[in-house]
Structures are given as structure tokens and as C-alpha cells.
């Protein structure tokens, strides 16, 4: 490790989600201005899936977005960004490589586990191994960190950073790090945004298999309706609580990324000179509001304070209604995009 202090002049901006925040911040450093919602849209990040066969901590996975890391991949492809990606077996080598890139004056994105990030509030520190941060400097054994979900930058000790970079579980983080090596200054944002939009619309409207895309929502509704009788009260409520967390917890910007996507539609309306997308944004906002209503009612149930008449069946009804709205929305968007 070189002894030299290094601080890359990195402009940190807070975002709702780690992956899109890292994209937006890294791109700005390299001279390409894209907002977080624009990064999310170009990377066609919005999705829906409920996978009863895939469990994390014994609870089926529900997701409102595409797989971790894929927003970055699609964004890079659509914009023509070349990324250098590396992972490591050896911890010292992983840190040496990080130091080397920092010494070149470049900020470095990396995959970490929130469990091992001491600067985050304790309540968020579960074994979640897909958290993206940017390291932009080093002072002795302290590394300078831009964690996109925080309002300011912070620091982390070398030992802690090594732990966070080499967490085990789902997935092993393997010291994964990445940085842009070529960012086009004349990127065609219009084309990229249109492409990202089309992809989301198609995948939400047309993905085969019942558990994916907008029809995954009524699919979950069917399962949810039977939770209590199949799982018993305790587990049923745990499953329900997990749904709320996946939808609302730190990182989605509210309503399972639906508001962030609506913000993208609004930006795209101006960028592509397609005023009808502003109307679609309004529609998506209304759908997002329905997701919030769902979470609100679910939260009361988890707390044991539900209104009379509130049940897994009424929650399932809400999901069915949201599913109908999203199916109509994305079919229409797929047809017109």
C-alpha cells in the first residue's frame, strides 16, 4: 500500500437507491450528467417478480427491480460506457488493486455487505450482500466513502472495508470492484432512454412464466390469500412484513421503485419530446400510491392493529387491483414505445 494520501475530487449526491446512485455519481465524475431516475430508466431497472421457490432467510423472494448489478450493465450497454470489472480471491490483492486505481485519481465502485459497514445505522445492518458504494480516497488506514443512500460522505477503516468486500452468503461479494474506463462525452441519451423504456415496458408486459412481470403481482396475490392457512399466523405475518421491507425499505425511493420510474417517465417526456409520457408518469404515480396503501394496510396487520375487515384476503384484493393496473399500463406503454 502506498503511504501517499489521496483524495479524488468526487461530487457526492444522495440518492434513493445504491446502484442507480453509484451510476449517477460515477458518470458525473466522468463528465456525463444523468440523474438517478434517468440512470434507472436507461438501465431499465423496473421489474416485478415473486419467486416462491427462491428463499432468503426462509422467506420467498419478492423483487420490484431487475437483478442486482444488471441496472449498471444495461445502462453501460445502452450508453456505450466501458467498465473495468474485477473480483478477487486474495484480500490483500483486492486492496492493492483498489489503492492502485485510487492513485490514478479514479473513484472506484464496489460491492459490499451492509452487515459489515459500521457507519450505517444498526437497524439496517442485515446480511445484505449487494450494496454498492464508491471509494474515492484514502488517508492512512481510513478510506473515503461515498455511500449513495447517505446525505454526506463518510470513512471506513481498512479492516472493516475488507470484511465488507469479502462477505460470504448470497452472494459472496468476492472483493468485486468496478470503474468506468471509457465514458462517451457525446452519448445519445435520447436513444438510450427510449431503449431503456421499451425494455421495461416489454419485460413487464410480456415476460412468460407467471411469477415475472406485471402478472407476477396477481400471482403473489393468489399465494398471499392462502398464507394464513398454509403458514400459520406467525409465519404469515413474517412473510407479509418482508413484502413491506422489499417494497419500502431504504433504496426503493418509495412504492417499490414505482415513484422513481415515474420520475424517469417525466424526464423522458421532456428529453424525447413525448408529452404523453408525462401523462403516463401521472398514471404510474397513482399506481405507486396504491402500492403505498397496500403497505400501509399490511403494516397495520403486522402490528396487530388492523381495522376490522382487514385480512390477507383484502390485501390480496388490493394486489389483484394493482396487478390489473400495471398490466394495462405496461401493455399500453409497450405498444406505444
Amino acid at each position: 500500500m502506498s503511504e501517499r494520501e489521496i483524495v479524488v475530487p468526487f461530487d457526492h449526491q444522495q440518492s434513493a437507491h445504491c446502484e442507480t446512485g453509484v451510476i449517477s455519481n460515477l458518470m458525473r465524475f466522468h463528465g456525463l450528467r444523468v440523474s438517478e431516475p434517468m440512470a434507472f430508466g436507461i438501465g431499465s431497472g423496473l421489474f416485478y417478480s415473486h419467486m416462491p421457490f427462491l428463499k432468503l432467510n426462509g422467506i420467498p423472494v419478492t423483487s420490484y427491480r431487475i437483478l442486482p448489478g444488471h441496472i449498471f450493465k444495461r445502462f453501460s450497454r445502452n450508453i456505450g460506457v466501458e467498465m473495468k470489472r474485477m473480483s478477487f480471491r486474495d484480500q490483500d490483492e483486492a486492496m492493492r488493486e483498489l489503492d492502485k486505481v485510487l492513485d490514478q485519481g479514479l473513484p472506484v465502485g464496489m460491492l459490499t455487505s451492509v452487515f459489515y459497514l459500521p457507519y450505517l445505522p444498526k437497524a439496517y445492518r442485515f446480511h445484505f450482500n449487494a450494496h454498492n458504494i464508491v471509494v474515492f480516497g484514502r488517508k492512512g488506514d481510513e478510506y473515503l466513502v461515498s455511500d449513495p443512500v447517505m446525505d454526506g460522505t463518510t470513512t471506513i477503516h481498512r479492516t472493516a472495508l475488507i470484511r465488507a468486500r469479502f462477505a460470504k452468503g448470497t452472494p459472496n461479494t468476492n472483493g468485486r470492484m468496478y470503474y468506468p474506463v471509457k465514458v462517451p462525452t457525446d452519448a445519445d441519451l435520447k436513444k438510450a432512454a427510449a431503449k431503456g423504456l421499451r425494455r421495461v415496458a416489454r419485460d413487464m408486459a410480456n415476460t412468460p412464466l407467471p411469477m415475472f412481470g406485471s402478472k407476477g403481482i396477481p400471482y403473489l396475490a393468489g399465494k398471499l390469500r392462502k398464507y394464513q392457512e398454509k403458514l400459520g399466523d406467525r409465519r404469515a405475518l413474517l412473510y407479509l412484513g418482508n413484502l413491506i421491507r422489499m417494497q419500502e425499505e431504504i433504496g426503493t425511493g418509495g412504492a417499490g421503485f414505482r415513484f422513481m420510474f415515474a420520475a424517469f417517465l417525466q424526464e423522458a417526456a421532456t428529453l424525447l419530446d413525448r408529452p404523453e409520457l408525462r401523462e403516463k408518469a401521472k398514471e404510474m404515480t397513482a399506481i405507486g400510491d396504491q402500492w403505498r396503501e397496500f403497505a400501509f394496510e399490511a403494516g397495520r396487520m403486522v402490528k396487530g392493529r388492523s381495522e376490522a375487515g382487514s385480512s390477507f384476503a383484502t390485501l390480496a384484493d388490493r394486489l389483484v387491483a394493482i396487478g390489473v393496473m400495471e398490466q394495462r399500463f405496461f401493455k399500453d406503454l409497450a405498444r406505444t414505445s
Partner: protein, 133 residues
């Protein structure tokens, strides 16, 4: 969600360290980012998840006190790990770690292995060998 409807239900989950941002529409119908300290359903769900962790830790503690488990089992739960995950950190087969969850097997471990467990669980050997006060 309108800007003024962005919830500010503070359950001290963020420990006052920062606010998260949500997307909401302002009076002109334009999307903006709005800081939030939390939302009740989110807080409730997070609390529920922690209750499970705390129950697991309490169960592990009981088993240690009853002589059914080694202190390793307790510290494993504190780190929110199961034997499979701890085994990955230790580079050992899961069944070996499971064996070490038994008091007699744990008592026979050599210092080197104890040190590796202590490192994986971010404590000292002394702490690993007992329950906290």
C-alpha cells in the same frame, strides 16, 4: 405521492445519522427528492425482522445456559449467521461447524481454531468462550 405527504415517522431507525430520500411530486406536478426519517409500516416491518433475530439470540442463550450448546452457537446467532454461513467464513464444512456447536466438541478446540472463530465473529477468544454479562 405528493411532497407534503412524504411520511416523517421517526422510530430512530436512522439514529439521526441521516435522512433517506423518497421521490414525490411537488405543487407543479414535477418529481423531486424529499428527505424522510421513516414511515410507520416500514418501521414496523423492520422491527418485526429484528424481533426474530433477538428471539434467536435469546433461544441460543437459553441453550448455552442449559448446557445444550456451546457459546459459539450464541455468538453465531448474534452475528445473524447459521452454521452454513459461518462455515463459509471459516472455510470449513458446515457439518464441522455444527459439531462445534456442541459444548464438549467446542471445549476441545485448539487455540488456532478458536482464534479463527473469534475473527469471523469479530470478538476476542475470551469473549467467544463466554456469554456477555
Amino acid at each position: 405521492m405528493r411532497k407534503e405527504d412524504v411520511p416523517q415517522d421517526d422510530a430512530n431507525i436512522l439514529e439521526g445519522k441521516f435522512k433517506v430520500v423518497k421521490y414525490a411530486v411537488n405543487e407543479n406536478g414535477d418529481y423531486v427528492v424529499v428527505p424522510s426519517v421513516g414511515w410507520e409500516p416500514e418501521n414496523v416491518a423492520l422491527e418485526q425482522a429484528w424481533d426474530v433475530v433477538h428471539e434467536n439470540v435469546a433461544d441460543a442463550k437459553k441453550k448455552v445456559l442449559a448446557g445444550e450448546s456451546s457459546t459459539l452457537a450464541y455468538h453465531m446467532e448474534v452475528n445473524m449467521m447459521d452454521a452454513a454461513l459461518l462455515a463459509q467464513h471459516m472455510n470449513l464444512p458446515a457439518r464441522t461447524v455444527k459439531k462445534h456447536l456442541q459444548p464438549s466438541e467446542f471445549a476441545a478446540l485448539d487455540k488456532a481454531l478458536l482464534q479463527r472463530y473469534a475473527d469471523a465473529l469479530m470478538i476476542t477468544i475470551e469473549e467467544l468462550k463466554k456469554l456477555p454479562e
